[in-house]
Symmetry: C2
Subunit: 197 residues, 2 copies
């Protein structure tokens, strides 16, 4: 059995962590982005599909290009954040399964079934996006996930060379400015959305 996490770690990951729209000036270096991947890559995906394709926007040019695809107040958040990650999903992830899931012919489960690939890529890249958020928190960073953007425009701007990849969601990353936080939205008790059968 694995060691449980202590209370401070549970606070960092879940109980005290918040979604941020504003960050301090502290930069996020490329080594930190690699460290996030080196944690999130271990999170389980069905048949080790690993369908997420991630673009980490760190340059002003990349942030401007992404901001131009976003809606509401999201362009400002993207431009101001140290990093914004685009979590894309590869609907042809199955081409990599001979390497990623080598002990059986998992590729054949998906050949010719675009609908199954779409659902699998969406579900499993979303799981990986959640692993990214929690891996970032585990390393002391904060995040600001968003789905308010024109996915087709993001695909054209960032994945034109990979036509099987489509944007799922995006998230800013940095060290959150706690002075900018609003009160937290409520979370219901177990009984509201859970049942024991």
């Amino acid at each position: 059995m694995m060691a449980k996490l202590d209370d401070q770690a549970l606070d960092t990951l879940f109980r005290s962590a918040r979604t941020f729209n504003h960050y301090t000036d502290r930069p996020v270096d490329d080594a930190t982005l690699h460290a996030i991947w080196d944690l999130l890559k271990w999170g389980p995906t069905s048949a080790n599909q690993l369908p997420a394709r991630i673009v980490w926007c760190t340059s002003p040019e990349a942030k401007d290009k992404l901001a131009a695809c976003a809606s509401g107040t999201n362009p400002d958040k993207i431009r101001a954040a140290p990093v914004t990650a685009i979590i894309g999903m590869d609907t042809e992830f199955h081409e990599h399964l001979p390497e990623l899931f080598p002990h059986t012919d998992a590729k054949s489960w998906f050949d010719g079934n675009a609908e199954l690939r779409q659902a699998s890529a969406f579900r499993n890249s979303s799981l990986q996006g959640a692993y990214l958020i929690l891996a970032a928190r585990a390393l002391g960073l904060d995040t600001g996930p968003m789905s308010g953007f024109d996915a087709g425009a993001v695909d054209k701007a960032f994945f034109a060379d990979m036509p099987s990849v489509h944007a799922n969601f995006i998230t800013t990353l940095g060290y959150g400015d706690t002075a900018s936080l609003h009160p937290r939205s409520p979370r219901p008790d177990f009984a509201k959305f859970n049942r024991i059968a």
Copy 2:
């Protein structure tokens, strides 16, 4: 800034954690299921949608009912595990937004747009499923997520009273039997699926 997690915690969550098909006899009590919810509920979802509706199958009857909907070797895994959770998604989650996201009329963003609700429920309940997996690990448990089942049959068996809820994926929970593990599937380096822009 939040405290970083230590190496042992990173191992428990990501680096040493494994997907299990076999568990020890150690039971998982209802209080532990409540504790998992009391962590995972804090994970971010878009506009605090919280679309996941979770059925925790702990009784032999519930496990049999779920096993009858599963394919391949999954029925045996479900029957043998201490608990199997069904992560469902409510495509009418927007009805709860006046309570869950009270500071603006977020419900109106989704009224009359079934396609947006479907995509939002799928993405955000998948995020919540990932939070469930990592919350369970944080509490010392192991998991075995699966998508090999007949979702329509699960909906009929478990969500007949909630027609807007559809099964997303399922996961066994317990204390893993490490003797049953196979070698781990490979994880690629940063450069394969990531780009810094």
